[in-house]
Amino acid sequence: MTATTTPEATFGVLPRADGSARYSHAGYTVTGSVNGPIEAQRREEHAYEAHVDVVVRPAAGHGGTRERHLESVLQSSLAQIILVKSFPRSLIQIVLQVENSPENDYVNTKLVQASLNFGIMPALMQTAVLALLSAGVPMRATATGTAVAIMHQDGAKQTMVDPSPRDIEKARSVHVLAFTSQDELLLAESEGDFTVKEWDLVYETARGICCRSRPQAKEGMAMLLDDESTGGPDMRQFLRSTMESKVAADLHWK
């Protein structure tokens, strides 16, 4: 059921940051701030490129090993799309604060959980990209990501987009994929139990969501947003339309 919801984003939620965005989708709400390029600390200063620093903060409890892992995954991916070479010796700091994540009402969750949380990765990635765009940090490309699960409902395989925590618990395998705006596969994380064939299926679905390229993108993408034809939102379209409205607002005086 969560798969059918459309993502929402608001910009400039943090007036004092260089760039910020609040993104909510599939029960996750993440606020992201971007500061940079700013002066880098000695220890993390690179002579030829900007250091991209990602901090992920859970809604409750101190960040643990799992957050460190998320950070390193996001860091390596975002460093790919940011033009790090154009700001040597500087720092681009991305802070992602999880505000809300869907709870599984059938278990009493513990505060600290070390196992990976696949569902949240796309939300974090999307928030970071939006915040970077709003900060005007020069980028090679934008990126979109999504989570797909393969369920075994009464014997039949079926893919499910943006699975809820409960779905993930039941799923045979869970996958997170992210694509750049040049349709390159930027990030692929999967776990569970699946075959190459199944992964192909997942790839197709994810690609459908992340890189649905529409030539007539110019007009009214608002309604295109929530078409269920391919089961899931059209992320790239979403990205474009949200940015369009932001830019239009910024340049209202033109």
Partner: protein, 357 residues
């Protein structure tokens, strides 16, 4: 880049300008007879041989020493008893939930619940120690690096997602059928129904502390770490334990030991993408310039590569099952390459299996 005219001893060349050094050795062949290869003398697709050495520790319940080239990992598994009343959020699996789960994922009934127990009560505790001076960048006595934390997270979640260990093996049951006297024993915590004491109930769990120690580090830590974990778990034998209602303690048998039945044999296989050009000033996409997929990268290579891939496969059954796939840090590995990579992973799996047996 050092032209042919200048001749530097290889190690110095590698030190001062590692990237060109690697490019050079990958592009030009040293001798006519064999083709260009990596700085470490391996072909791009060539993996280092892996060697296992089980039960190397006498005190641990299970252990293994794994060597992959110059990366050596020692893994020890130790079980400790955890009585249910010491588990704050303990919650006996109630029947109708079992049934629900059964319907939901037909076949492997109760499996999900088992995983739930493993996770909720933290029955599997992997810990990775890199700061042993195993490599220049890991000096002893420093707080765990990001790498160490990342590795332990990956091992932890793979342990759970693969279901390598089943909760059943770690549960210690008590069935009052033959022991009526246990009934009036106040079991704070075993939150069961009225008829709780009638049916058999879990009284304690084994907690498996899985400690990984990097003896030496020369790249590709995850593959080795994971192999060590699997080997150590296969080697693990826990003493047979039962509940003694008179003394209200769990007693372990001195002699009797039961080995865990480890499910399947998932094997990790990692590679890194090496770009001919470091991302150029213009920031032109990484597409330009050649690139190589370096399997089982060593430390030097890892420092020079951004994009990495790790695939965990299990070919125990006829069909190859992928247990985990992690690809990040670049945009070069597309669908086709990843498809093809499965084949490489299978090859790896076979090698590892033979090495293990």
């Amino acid at each position: 880049m050092a032209g042919p005219t200048i001749s530097l001893p290889a190690p110095i060349f590698a030190k001062i300008s590692p990237h060109p050094f690697l490019v050079r050795s990958l592009t030009r062949s040293t001798a006519a007879d064999h083709p260009p290869c990596r700085a470490n003398g391996r072909a791009t697709q060539e993996l280092r041989p892996v060697r296992f050495n089980a039960t190397s520790l006498s005190h641990a319940h299970g252990s293994a020493l794994v060597r992959l080239g110059d990366t050596t990992v020692l893994c020890g598994v130790r079980g400790e008893l955890l009585p249910v009343e010491r588990i704050p959020q303990f919650r006996p699996v109630d029947k109708e939930e079992l049934r629900q789960q059964g319907e939901n994922n037909n076949g492997n009934c109760g499996d999900a619940i088992g995983r739930g127990e493993l996770r909720d009560y933290d029955l599997l505790v992997p810990n990775i120690e890199l700061a042993t001076g195993s490599a220049p960048q890991f000096l002893p006595g420093v707080p765990p690096t990001t790498l160490a934390q990342t590795l332990s997270t990956r091992v932890y979640s793979l342990l759970h997602s693969t279901g390598l260990v089943q909760a059943g093996d770690l549960k210690i049951w008590y069935s009052p059928k033959e022991q009526r006297r246990g009934e009036d024993v106040e079991m704070g915590g075993t939150g069961d129904k009225e008829d709780g004491d009638e049916e058999e109930r879990p009284v304690a769990y084994w907690v498996l502390y899985i400690d990984l120690l990097f003896v030496s580090f020369d790249g590709n830590p995850f593959d080795v770490a994971w192999a060590a974990v699997v080997a150590a778990l296969r080697d693990t034998r826990l003493p047979v334990a039962r509940w003694d209602p008179d003394r209200e303690v769990v007693v372990c048998s001195k002699t009797e030991r039961r080995r865990l039945n480890v499910r399947g044999l998932p094997v990790a296989c990692s590679a890194a993408v090496f770009m001919e050009k470091e991302q150029s000033e213009a920031g032109a996409g990484p597409r330009e310039g050649g690139h190589w997929l370096l399997l089982d990268p060593d430390r030097l290579e890892e420092t020079l590569c951004k994009e990495v891939i790790t695939m965990v496969v299990d070919c125990s059954d006829d069909e190859t099952r992928i247990k985990s796939l992690e690809k990040q840090g670049g945009t070069l590995l597309g669908r086709e390459l990843i498809r093809g990579y499965a084949g490489i992973a299978e090859r790896r799996w076979k090698e590892v299996r033979t090495a293990m047996e």
